[in-house]
């Protein structure tokens, strides 16, 4: 319970800002918070609070896995890289050859969610392949 007290502000904010499927569990001295954020700004807000409570994430006592939910097959995704292009690969792995690129802030189509990490996407230019899910958010 001590960890839930430490990260109370984070848990309260997740609850009040509409994070769905929220799960807060403590196991072997680590707190796990999972859920689906309604949008990218909510996810950023939670990470800002995490960074405030545990500066530079040095504590190693929280695994925060709140991703932006709502992406559906056939839906539109926005590329949310810092500034660079997003690689589109032949397979769901960074060892796989690059078959195309999507520009920063380009809107692409989700074909399916291959895993938590990799989405199969298609660009309006016709390139189809796997891209890293953390750089994609529902448009």
């Amino acid at each position: 319970m001590a960890l839930q007290d430490k990260y109370k502000e984070l848990i309260d904010t997740a609850n009040s800002s509409g994070v769905s499927n929220l799960q807060v569990r403590e196991q072997d001295g680590v707190l796990y918070i999972d859920g689906d954020a309604p949008d990218g700004s909510t996810k950023d807000k939670l990470w800002d609070i995490y960074n405030k409570i545990d500066p530079d994430f040095k504590g190693g006592d929280l695994v925060l896995n709140v991703n932006v939910g709502g992406a559906v097959d056939g839906g539109k995704l926005k590329v949310v890289t810092e500034s660079s292009n997003l690689n589109i690969r032949k397979g769901p792995d960074t060892e796989q050859p690059i078959v195309g690129k999507a520009a920063h802030e380009e809107i692409v189509t989700l074909v399916n969610k291959t895993s938590d990490q990799w989405y199969l996407i298609r660009t309006d230019g016709g390139a189809e392949g796997y891209a890293y899910a953390q750089y994609l958010q529902p448009a």
Binding site: Q23, R25, K58, N65, E82, Q117
Partner: protein, 169 residues
């Protein structure tokens, strides 16, 4: 003579009223029932119960959450003036089923975790890592501005723990 007749009539009438009130002695069932209902309503655990009174016998019905509530409902009604007997037909709700235990936290196996973290740190060339028993240890250095995005990527791989030994510049 006439005065005496009137006097006799008054005496008889008074006697009649007294005898009638003796026959219907004690409070009426409806009044007792109302008082018993008020007694139950005074306690939030028994306020949803019903009570009816016939010939001074109070019957309580409805559902209580536990035995204590059933007993206290009976005591409350017993204490009402005019109740000669209590029939306690209150049922006690079965205890709720125990909550299912929270699903254990899913931790990615090391070989799969290795691959996922490799992908996660790929865009941060100054960062290296090791994976052991689900614990991801990050080494090297990173710009503070790049740190949240890296941690978001690494923590979404479902590790057991992320230990950061990163030098943050």
């Amino acid at each position: 003579m006439k005065k005496n007749w009137l006097k006799n009539f008054a005496v008889l009438g008074t006697a009649a009223i007294i005898s009638l009130s003796i026959v219907s002695c004690g409070p009426k069932d409806a009044d007792v029932q109302s008082a018993a209902a008020t007694a139950l309503a005074g306690d939030p655990t028994t306020s949803a119960l019903q009570v009816s009174v016939k010939d001074g016998v109070a019957t309580i019905s409805g559902e209580c959450k536990d035995d204590a509530c059933k007993v206290s409902s009976e005591n409350a009604v017993k204490g009402v003036k005019g109740v000669k007997q209590v029939v306690n037909n209150v049922t006690v709700a079965p205890p709720p089923p125990p909550l299912p235990p929270a699903a254990p936290v899913g931790i990615t196996a090391d070989d799969s975790l290795m691959q996922k973290v490799t992908d996660a740190v790929k865009d941060n060339p100054g960062v290296t890592f090791t994976v052991k028993d689900g614990v991801v240890t990050l080494n090297g250095e990173i710009k503070r501005a790049d740190l949240p995005k890296l941690m978001q990527k690494v923590q979404s791989t479902r590790p057991k723990k992320v230990e950061s030994k990163l030098t943050v510049k």
